[in-house]
């Protein structure tokens, strides 16, 4: 049944009730229900943001909703006939998926236009988790800022803190002690492992493999336990701060890290047995949700999705930050840009990260874990009892914060989901004048109409999962 037929019936319902000589009890109830329906619909309506019927949509918008990348960077064109915008409305149906749908990983709402089981158009409707973090960031000092940004991408909080701290330090022009840099790398790579494990778990669940879900969460918990030991919290750590990190690594951290590496590396080969070679899993993922390198670049897609198309673009390698140029690791690329390639890129990135963590643990330099500049980092607790200066610095940093020179900077790092950027404008006070976070999930979601077009409704869940959107970061 199409939308239009449904609308006609709905309007015909109450009329039929009034025309009948003796309206029965059921009919009046039906009329009441119909009368209440519009009010209920209006409550959840996002109006113009929604997917509209074809006859009320402009050609440009239609092209976007079918994921047409009309002008490719190399000057190539997609055949307009290919995108099929001439179809009539009465053959199709617009359905709503989400925002409360278990497979949409949070509160992502998709409106899909279907022809039978085939997806024709898609429109992601976002904003259900919008909390105004960029505005909040303007009201917090640089010292407090990390607690705010760490809640954006809640599966890789340390990367959020890292990009915020790097942007602040670029404006401050401070140089970090080597140990701070290497601790940051260690934590960032551990966080990448935990984030990819979480993705493996949910992706397995979306494809019907509940064992994978249990295994993924089990391994992730090992990493989170180490985070709790080091930072005091499992998530939203507020550990990486402008000027270094909050605390040194705990005693015996090498053993903990080695156990994590050993266990998780061995388990990744178990995942191989469970999923990689499994015929059902391969049927569901191979040649589903394809994207080409040109399309990915045009849509600004980064991270594992871009690498799955065969573009070896990893900011850790191509634009190294921290001390990634001193590590020996491979950039994992796929070849077809389908669900299976995105799965294998992430699985192998876990192994590469473990390789990196082992190198970092070996090469960890001694020294300070934060810069010893009293204008940026607070003095050690013991100094406060002895020195008036230390007390003043401590007080100033936690009440007023430090002043950052006027300027603007864009810093980008490779988060588990792609290029995580921070554009920061400072006006010389102790609070950022403008804080803009370029969330990789937010940008990668634009690829959904393209990935879903022509696919089956049943594969939509798998495709959404393979994009790995974290709604906290999409909506910020």
């Amino acid at each position: 049944m199409t939308e239009h037929e449904h609308d006609d019936e709905r309007e015909a319902g109450p009329d039929a009730g009034t025309e009948s000589v003796e309206p029965g009890l059921e009919e009046t109830e039906a009329a009441h229900r119909h009368a209440e329906e519009p009010a209920f619909v209006a409550e959840t309506s996002e109006g113009a943001q929604e997917l509209a019927a074809r006859d009320t949509t402009t050609a440009g918008e239609l092209r976007q909703e079918v994921g047409a990348v009309l002008r490719l960077p190399e000057g190539g064109y997609v055949d307009p006939g290919d995108i099929d915008i001439e179809r009539r409305d009465d053959q199709t149906m617009i359905i709503n998926m989400g925002p409360q749908h278990p497979s949409t990983h949070g509160v992502l709402r998709l409106m899909l236009e279907l022809d039978g089981e085939t997806v024709l158009r898609t429109k992601p409707i976002i904003g259900y988790l919008h909390t105004g973090m960029e505005k909040t960031g303007e009201e917090l000092t640089y010292v407090q800022g990390c607690t705010n940004v760490t809640r954006m991408d809640y599966l890789s909080p340390l990367h959020n803190e890292l990009v915020f701290s790097l942007a602040t330090e670029a404006l401050l022009d401070v140089e970090l002690p080597p140990r701070a840099i290497w601790i940051r790398m260690l934590m960032a790579e551990l966080n990448r492992v935990s984030s990819h494990l979480m993705w493996m778990a949910t992706n397995g669940m979306d494809l019907g493999s509940t064992s994978m879900m249990i295994y993924g969460f089990r391994e992730r918990e090992m990493v989170l336990t180490f985070f709790e030991k080091t930072t005091g919290l499992r998530m939203n750590n507020n550990y990486i701060r402008p000027g270094g990190v909050a605390a040194d690594l705990p005693d015996g951290w090498q053993d903990d890290v080695e156990i994590i590496c050993e266990t998780i590396l061995a388990r990744t080969y178990e995942y191989d047995e469970l999923l990689t070679g499994q015929p059902i899993f391969r049927e569901r993922t191979e040649a589903v949700g394809n994207i080409s390198a040109e399309e990915a670049l045009a849509l600004s897609v980064t991270g594992p999705i871009l690498r799955s198309t065969g573009v070896p673009w990893d900011l850790r390698r191509t634009m190294p930050y921290l001390a990634y140029d001193k590590l020996d690791f491979d950039v994992i690329v796929g070849s077809y840009g389908d669900n299976f390639d995105r799965y294998s890129v992430r699985l192998n990135e876990i192994r590469e990260s473990i390789k990196m963590i082992r190198q970092i643990a070996e090469m960890m330099p001694p020294g300070d874990y934060r810069v010893q500049d009293r204008k940026v980092t607070p003095p050690p607790r013991a100094r406060i009892d002895e020195s008036m200066e230390a007390l003043i610095h401590h007080f100033k940093i936690f009440t007023e914060g430090f002043r950052v020179p006027e300027g603007e900077v864009y810093v980008a790092i490779e988060s588990p989901r792609g290029e995580l950027g921070c554009y920061m404008v400072s006006d010389g006070t102790s609070k950022p004048y403008r804080l803009h976070i370029r969330g990789p999930s937010f940008v990668n979601l634009q690829a959904l109409p393209l990935l879903l077009r022509g696919g089956l409704m049943a594969d939509a869940v798998a495709v959404i999962s393979s994009v790995d959107p974290v709604m906290g970061e999409v909506d910020r």
């Binding site: 943001q49 976002i126 904003g127 980064t302 573009v311 191509t318 603007e408 004048y433 803009h436």
Partner: protein, 173 residues
Amino acid sequence: MSESTPTAAPAAPPAGVLPEVPRLPDVRVDQLAFPHRDTYKQMVAAFRDAGFETCADLCGVDYLTHPGRSLPEGVAPERFEVVVNLLSLSMRQRVRIRVQLPESDPVVDTIVDVYPGADAMEREAYDMVGILFTGHPDMTRILMPEDWEGHPLRKDYGVGRVPVQFKEAPGPR
């Protein structure tokens, strides 16, 4: 995509391709350009043709209460700015383009037809700062509800304007 494979040594951008606009040297970015809004789209397209394959980021900034920023000669400061960060994979370079937009008329050409990936970013800039992009196929709000009033990231947008309802105060007896 062999030409964008970043294994070869980064090459210098081809000279003479880019339009002449005021620029500033900046140690933190490879190029920093300040085109007028009439030449903005032309410049973005020129950068795309010069090998900047991806639009990494686009956002709006409201400079209402900023005490003053450094701009090159010939660029008059205006209230709004659109900041575009382009990325070249083949040259491993970043370029930042900043366009000044007046308070009375915060309108600029869309770059969606140059970089389709700028779609959601332009909608966000419209939603948050209230900059209109002419030619954008779907200029609607993206994060806020459609009937929201005002643009939250403007500096004159009050924080906490949503009225909070408390219980009625107790009477005298």
